[in-house]
Symmetry: C3
Subunit: 159 residues, 3 copies
């Protein structure tokens, strides 16, 4: 019996297009029968936020960050040609025309394919994000858990 | 006989400086006798555009994207200190002074060294780019082909 | 005796948050007994600048770049929500509240853990940075040295 190949992705970026690239590679690798982990840290955590407003107790600065950061994958901006928020709509229209999967569905698909979605607890703390605000069925861990996965990884990317 | 080492780079970024870094690493790895692939996706595809205007049939949105994206490596902006377009000129002047190779020549050199340049067909479709608009002597493939290369890669980077 | 695992990071970015991610991963890997290298290139070199003004002879453009680039890790901006320079202060206040280590201390810790910090000589040349302007106890090398480390690396990232 051969061991499964491993793909790990650190998703640092909070851009819609970069998160799309991360999830397309992750879903491809899962279809290829890799064991896949996406470790969401810093702005990449926003891809895991629920789109509704969750009532949680926060300090002033955490509340401010929470308000200003996009609430969920569908609200994220583009890394290029964002055009004050018009860019994502354009891209999504084009994607629909080409039957390409939007980001929230790519994330669902990853969960169905057992891609391990991890939220970095240290940066959740910094940005004031609580577990109640994030999607269900994800894991919580720190850099040590990421490294334990990545040191045996065949494909390790930072996006 | 030992197998060749492998380097794969996903070039997602459309920034001149990041593309330079990608091509410098790729050319270095090729000189080290690695098998090297650069997989161009999203804005990174712009590095492969020809600099002339190619007449192709496109829908409205694809035409719009085509107009607004830089036509070829020499037209790309910087990720930092772009100064409304002045930055690239500054960097290029400095590079000339230091006899550093500009991006279009780095790409030529990569082709001479048999670096495999791949354009991501899925994102070409999204951004409305046609094969006629891209450089000759490149390959066209999707995420599956990228993963097949990367899973045996020694150095895999996302830029 | 088993060989040590290896982690290499290319730090291209000059953003405070991305440099933090790089150094947190590097320190984690060092704690895990990996051999760790951070190769600083392009804007990532700014993380290694001393914070005082060092008198060195430079051409006009090199002087200009030197003035405009952040002088050391503590002066770097954020990749997101920089708010014209307010963002880094916010993040640092939050970090202090959570007892998280600021970037300059993460760099010190990396040096104490024998993380190899390398400055890319080719881009130092381009940006006009001199050895006297950078921190002590670092190495100077080019892409060939980076590749020699990375080709045996378990975790190779481009940040």
């Amino acid at each position: 019996m051969t061991e499964k190949k491993k793909t790990t992705i650190v998703l640092f970026s909070g851009d819609y297009d970069k998160a799309m690239a991360a999830y397309i590679i992750a879903n491809g690798a899962a279809a290829y029968d890799h064991e896949v982990t996406i470790f969401h840290t810093f702005w990449g955590l926003n891809a895991l936020r629920k789109d509704e407003d969750i009532a949680v107790k926060k300090g002033f600065m955490e509340r401010m960050f929470g308000k200003m950061m996009p609430r969920g994958a569908d609200k994220m901006g583009l890394s290029k040609m964002n055009f004050a928020g018009m860019g994502p709509k354009l891209i999504k229209d084009i994607m629909k025309k080409h039957n390409a999967m939007p980001l929230p569905q790519l994330i669902e698909m990853a969960q169905e394919q057992d891609v391990k979605l991890v939220a970095c607890t240290m940066t959740m703390d910094l940005l004031g994000l609580k577990q109640e605000e994030l999607l269900g069925n994800i894991e919580y861990a720190g850099v040590a858990a990421y490294l334990a996965d990545a040191e045996d990884g065949n494909v390790n990317l930072f996006i």
